[in-house]
Symmetry: C2
Subunit: 325 residues, 2 copies
Amino acid sequence: MEQFLKDIGEHEFISRFLRKNLPASGIVQGIGDDCAVLDFSENEYLLVTSDMMVEDRHFTRSWFSMSQIGRKLVEINVSDIHSMGGKASYGFLSVAFPGTMRAEESNSFFTGLYESADRHDLQLAGGDTTENDKIIVNLTLLGHVEKKRLQLRSGCQDGDLLCVTGTLGKSAAGLALFLAGQSGNKSGYLEPQARSYSDALTISLYATSMIDISDGLASEACHLARHSGLQFNIRQNDIPLSDETKKSASLLKADPIEWALSGGEDYELLFTLPPQKLDTLKKQFSDFSCIGRASKGVAKVCLETDSGQREISKGYEHFKTQAKK
Amino acid sequence: MEQFLKDIGEHEFISRFLRKNLPASGIVQGIGDDCAVLDFSENEYLLVTSDMMVEDRHFTRSWFSMSQIGRKLVEINVSDIHSMGGKASYGFLSVAFPGTMRAEESNSFFTGLYESADRHDLQLAGGDTTENDKIIVNLTLLGHVEKKRLQLRSGCQDGDLLCVTGTLGKSAAGLALFLAGQSGNKSGYLEPQARSYSDALTISLYATSMIDISDGLASEACHLARHSGLQFNIRQNDIPLSDETKKSASLLKADPIEWALSGGEDYELLFTLPPQKLDTLKKQFSDFSCIGRASKGVAKVCLETDSGQREISKGYEHFKTQAKK
């Protein structure tokens, strides 16, 4: 039977085709983490990440301003570097814009892009420009991390706490408000912000594994569980939600926990922490919640609710599902 | 008056928006050469280049096989690294494919991509996948070059010879055959090949500046002239054309010199050479032609023909002109 990409799904697609050449010399970590990790110098790894945003798939121009598109492109990429404990340093941008775009709009895109780049002390060092009827932007970031500070998806130990920065479901809340045609706080969706390098660096002193939340808590926790071969139990009541998110959920009669679990695009940091490091980290950085714990068992993620425990599935996957606008 | 990108053109677009943050620490050469040059270690520079290919702009699926698209993406990027005298080492690929694409076609794309990657001893180390109705692929390459071997667009001296590898107009010939609905040798268009690292390395021992021919001889020679502040005179009769290209031109009643000057996508290396180095280079690498000379004067490029001399204008520019398919 003929197979199409929509039948295969993104993860199978990646594992079928992109892993072919690995492992190779100099590649410490290839495809399969937030960034590629390259061994370039004695004390530091070079980190490289790349994210593409396509109009009407990752954003729609009726909802996003051009400067929001520019900012989001930087933030989602910077978040990948920070999630490895690294510092983003240089950006390489490919843009395809329509020839009929007003120069002012293009200007606005770069204003947003540079706002975020400046905020993260990131230099734009190269790129490519072409023309297309829809906007397509791709950013590749180079970063660096001290070898001993590198955070991978693997590394979690039996008994470690599962922790997450900030609050979750903000982005999904904004999207749900748009889809329902309701007003409310949509900034989590329109203007996601990567956690600062300073936050990531502090966490990386004590964490055993880390990932950023781009695809939803359930999916990201599954990555950590699979890479460490442990079972994660998440306590539903401890998942951090903002008052704004709860308010939007109440307005829309939606479940904010569902947004947190599978909405994605919150760009908070999910990490595992030995229990004895909890107090020390809390003294240096406190904007995080402990939401669960790792234990020996089959690699999976379970949600503990007032009514019992259930295994939770993966989040959003490309090719298999419909676009989120 | 309102301005659109199609009024501004690519070069103005780049200079308006992308140069903002330069120069910055660690960036030896930012936007404005084939690659960005970063100062990462004592003896070597890190080179980074990025090229995006969009369906129906850079290729059409009725003409290109999926494996040809994969190969071309690698070759055009590798050519940028080689044109700086560098060795390509790691690739980061972003792909947007339609969900309705057959898995076999996607497989074929990666087969072509890895064929070229293997040929150039290049490892694919990361990337991003998403879905789009049209195919969009972006490759970012990292490479490295010994500091003393770095070739820039600037560096040419008064009296240097202008030289070019191989033959020109091959790609434009293939495209012209397609557009005319004629059969013939279209491989220069469908399967361009970057010059090998070995060729580029040998040339870089003696050259004073170098660039690869992606936009046509006229445009690339203008870049070298502008960056060195010299006038280049090109002898039309010395522009190298293959017999195949002449045959196609004859069939189509077209001017093959026009293809060489403004067709582009030949991915040969254009370089400047002190006259006293000519014999030495010829002994080590001979597949090149001397087509002109640099002299003091206004930075421009002139073509010397049997009937006189004329200034030649720039080649293809994005936004301002129609797509080449």
